[in-house]
Amino acid sequence: MTFENDHVSFKVNGKQYNVNEDKNTPLLFVLREYLGLSATRFGCGEGTCGACTVIINDEAILSCDVPVGEIEGKSVETAEGLQREPNDPLFRAFIKNQAGQCGYCLSGILMASKALLRKDPFVSRAKIAKALDGNLCRCGAHKRILDAIEEAAKSVVDNA
């Protein structure tokens, strides 16, 4: 196996990063360990739980499943991007609906639903649910999460 240490540059939440890591390292570990952005959670590292979902160039992607080498020049969004955006409609709706218990799955779900609403602001509840089938929640906060996303979608459409 070869370990090419190479230069990769990409944006995270609008900020430019240049990293020198093995290009095969999944983005998840680069975010969490090298950039200190750990609001993107480690759940399985195998692409089966959705906890590490981020947005890359407007697509919801499992960050454990993307080698960092593949995101050269791309733009990544993580939950940290919402820390300074208390008025983001989704973030607000999650708080208003108290959509979560332990919250471990939530940052991934937040990113998955953000990408979904960006693509289709008129998305139905059933389609939201189907789109989130790859995001596991064990506490059983699903109903509130769906309520929150539906409410956020409505507020985005109403204000458009």
Partner: protein, 701 residues
């Protein structure tokens, strides 16, 4: 008034509250936040008693160097015991504050009161703030000497409900153990044998040491720990080790645990026996319900951080009982307890005795070889599924006797189960790796939870109805290669399903409405109200067996016989598989503190129970659990979530009871009953998958 039990060992104000250097009060609780939101309710209880805003309360939870030891946070007791203790603390504190203020203001304490952090006299704000009195508080005073609790009418006026205090941070920050980072921190990945009966036979340590990023290998008996400079490298090296090492089971023949549970010759312990149980005559009805092993399945795997320095150990853990974990680790390492400090930090949701304690011990074993360095262990999904304790497998056989006047007059319940309690303690470490170190500490059998603490396997084996004669017997099957321990509601889930489906079976045979039939066996007004409210809620098609594959079903129980009341009605639609389309619940947990938090717990319990009942079964091969990834253990998905409606009956004058474990049993029972009403068969071997229904249909025809 009897003081809450934690005040026995921690009677002084200073055990529960301290003054910081900046003149702020810091409250302590031995309870841990498991993701259920209990700290929000605890803060509400303190703030309400003290008449200050919840946002002004600083609460530190569960750390061995600061907080009282309140035992394990489990069994839905956080509010009932831990919260009520804090209410006493706040009351005693307020009494002292008003006493101090009265001297400064030269008046009687009874003329003063607190409002939003200020001291008031006869409706007017005085010049004194609460914080002006803090320097004179005597923290050595006994709480019970100063306590003057509010009456229930005076409570919950300013903030009947607040949002979770920690939800924002859980959404966009990094509060979990996995997320904590220290300078120079190393990462550890354990490689555990597939079961405690397996031994590590061969591993190429030299090649393992050469894997990228690996700093050190720790091998102790059959425990293998890989220390690396990043989690990514530690994890990859562990994957390599698992596929290149050889482990062998000391068992030669596979164990069929269900065969053991169903047909054991071991003695049954009699827990309850009415004198006349054998004398009654009438018609006996019976059922047998089995549930497989169930994973905790937290989305974030177990994790811990440990550091060894100058013979002292610092540990960050998401254990449910940091003091018990400290005792266990001290015992295994032959250390004094005060050489170990354990601080609780949150992790992914905790639903019982999961891998938290084991992961903490893994971290300790590895950190020992790199003194002075913080070492973080994060388990893999494989570790979660192979190493963490599982929820017990059970077979509950219930028999009910119907008298000639159509009353159920006797219940005879036989519970067969693998252990529900294998938690760490001083005498029995119950730490996974300890059982295969080079000097192994063999785990001895932990007795089941006694009935006075709610029971373990036999929890809710007594039906929640007025039954003249009752017999409950249980048999714990210790002899399997599988490690099982506490999972939310312990035996109650399976036992409530057995008893509630039996009730429905009898009602069906008598052609009586199942709610009406239950009401005929209930005198307790609170139980009655649950059932009556459910009757009001039900739709016109409820319970009529339809020919469109849909049906409603009911389940009801009072958790532990002394906890919260919960009734659940479920509608199913059976096509290729069973889909739960609607769930309506009515619950009563006495005085409701964090009302939305309670509803959230009930909803979560219902959804988790639907998942258990329809989908979940740990795959095993007679030697160990075999699931490796989520694809081997599907759980309920977003597209499978029913419409949910939760009705909370608030009883401010009653004792507050927990809500986290009251809905699982009633939900499971309601699903089985709904399926029976939809297609006329009672499937009682869980989970109720498509294959299980087909198998049952074949056995009936």
């Amino acid at each position: 008034m009897i003081p809450p039990s934690p005040l026995t060992n921690f009677p002084l104000l200073g055990h529960w509250v301290k003054l910081s250097e900046k003149n702020n009060l810091i409250f302590f609780s031995g309870r841990v936040e498991l993701g259920q939101g209990n700290t929000t309710a605890l803060v509400m209880m303190i703030a309400d008693e003290l008449d200050v805003l919840p946002s002004s309360i600083h609460l530190e939870t569960a750390r061995t160097d600061l907080t009282p030891n309140e035992g394990i946070t489990a069994g839905s007791m956080s509010i009932t015991i831990g919260g009520v203790a804090l209410r006493w603390v706040a009351s005693a504190l307020k009494y002292q504050i008003l006493e101090i203020a009265s001297k400064q203001l030269k008046t009687q304490p009874s003329n003063l009161y607190v409002q939003s952090g200020c001291i008031y006299q006869k409706g007017k704000k005085t010049e004194l703030y609460l914080s002006d009195t803090f320097y004179k508080i005597d923290f050595n005073r006994k709480i019970i000497d100063d306590v003057h609790l509010k009456s229930f009418e005076e409570r919950q006026k300013s903030f009947p409900n607040i949002n979770r205090i920690d939800l924002k941070s859980r959404l966009v920050d990094a509060p979990f153990i996995q997320d904590i980072a220290f300078d120079g921190m190393l990462y550890g990945a354990p490689v555990h044998p597939p079961s405690t009966y397996h031994q590590l036979v061969k591993i190429d340590l030299a090649s393992l040491k050469d894997r990228p990023g690996v700093v050190k290998i720790v091998k102790n008996g059959s425990f293998l720990g890989i220390i690396a400079n990043s989690f990514y490298h530690a994890r990859n090296a562990a994957i390599w080790a698992r596929s290149n090492g050889i482990w062998k089971s000391t068992l030669t023949d596979p164990v069929d645990h269900f065969q053991k549970l169903k047909c054991s010759n071991n003695v049954l312990d009699t827990i309850i026996e009415s004198k006349d149980i054998r004398k009654n005559s009438g018609k006996w009805f019976e059922t047998s319900v089995s549930r497989p092993f169930i994973y905790h399945g937290s989305i974030g795997p177990a994790a811990a951080i440990a550091k060894f320095e100058d013979e002292e150990i610092l540990i960050y853990s998401h254990s449910q009982g940091v003091f018990q974990l400290r005792q266990a680790i001290a015992n295994v390492l032959q250390k004094k307890e005060d050489q170990i400090c354990i601080i609780h930090r949150p992790n992914s949701g905790c639903y019982g005795h999961n891998g938290a304690d084991d992961a903490a011990f893994d971290a300790v074993l590895m950190a020992k070889s790199v003194p002075g360095k913080f070492l973080k262990v994060i388990w893999s999904r494989f570790d979660e599924f192979h190493t963490s304790p599982m929820g017990a497998a059970m077979v509950t056989k219930s028999r009910a006797l119907l008298s000639s006047d159509k009353r159920v007059i006797a219940f005879d319940v036989e519970v067969n189960s693998t252990p529900h309690t294998n938690r760490p303690s001083s005498k029995i470490p119950n730490l996974r790796a300890a059982s295969y170190l080079s000097k192994p500490i063999v785990s001895v059998r932990t007795p089941d939870v006694p009935l006075e603490r709610g029971g373990g396997a036999d929890r809710n084996a007594s039906p929640s109805y007025d039954i003249d004669s009752l017999r409950v017997r249980k048999r714990i099957e210790y002899d399997t290669p599988y490690r099982t321990s506490a999972l939310r509601s312990l035996g109650a889930y399976c036992n409530v399903i057995a008893n509630e489906t039996l009730f429905d079976k009898i009602a069906k045979e008598l052609n009586v409405d199942p709610i009406k039939f239950r009401l005929e066996h209930v005198s307790d007004p609170r139980s009655k109200e649950i059932l009556e409210r459910l009757a009001d809620e039900r739709l016109s098609d409820t319970y009529n067996t339809s020919d469109d594959g849909t049906g409603w079903g009911l389940g009801f129980a009072r958790y532990k016989g002394s906890g919260g009341y919960c009734g659940v009605m479920i509608k199913v639609n059976i096509d290729e598989t069973v889909q739960v389309t609607d769930a309506i619940s009515v619950c009563d947990v006495g005085e409701a503190i964090s009302k939305d938090g309670i509803k959230n717990q009930i909803e979560g319990g219902i959804i988790q129970s639907i998942s258990w009942t329809l989908k979940e079964s740990v795959p095993v091969d007679g030697f160990s659990a075999t699931a490796e990834t989520w694809t081997d253990y599907p759980i309920l998905k977003f597209s499978e979530i029913p419409n949910l409606r939760t009705i909370l009956i608030n009883r401010p004058a009653e004792k507050p009871l927990g809500a986290g474990e009251i809905s699982q049993g009633p939900t499971g029972a309601a699903i089985v009953n709904a399926i029976n009403n939809a297609i006329g068969i009672q499937v009682t071997e869980l989970p109720i998958t498509r294959d299980a229904i087909i198998a049952k249909l074949h056995s009936v025809t």
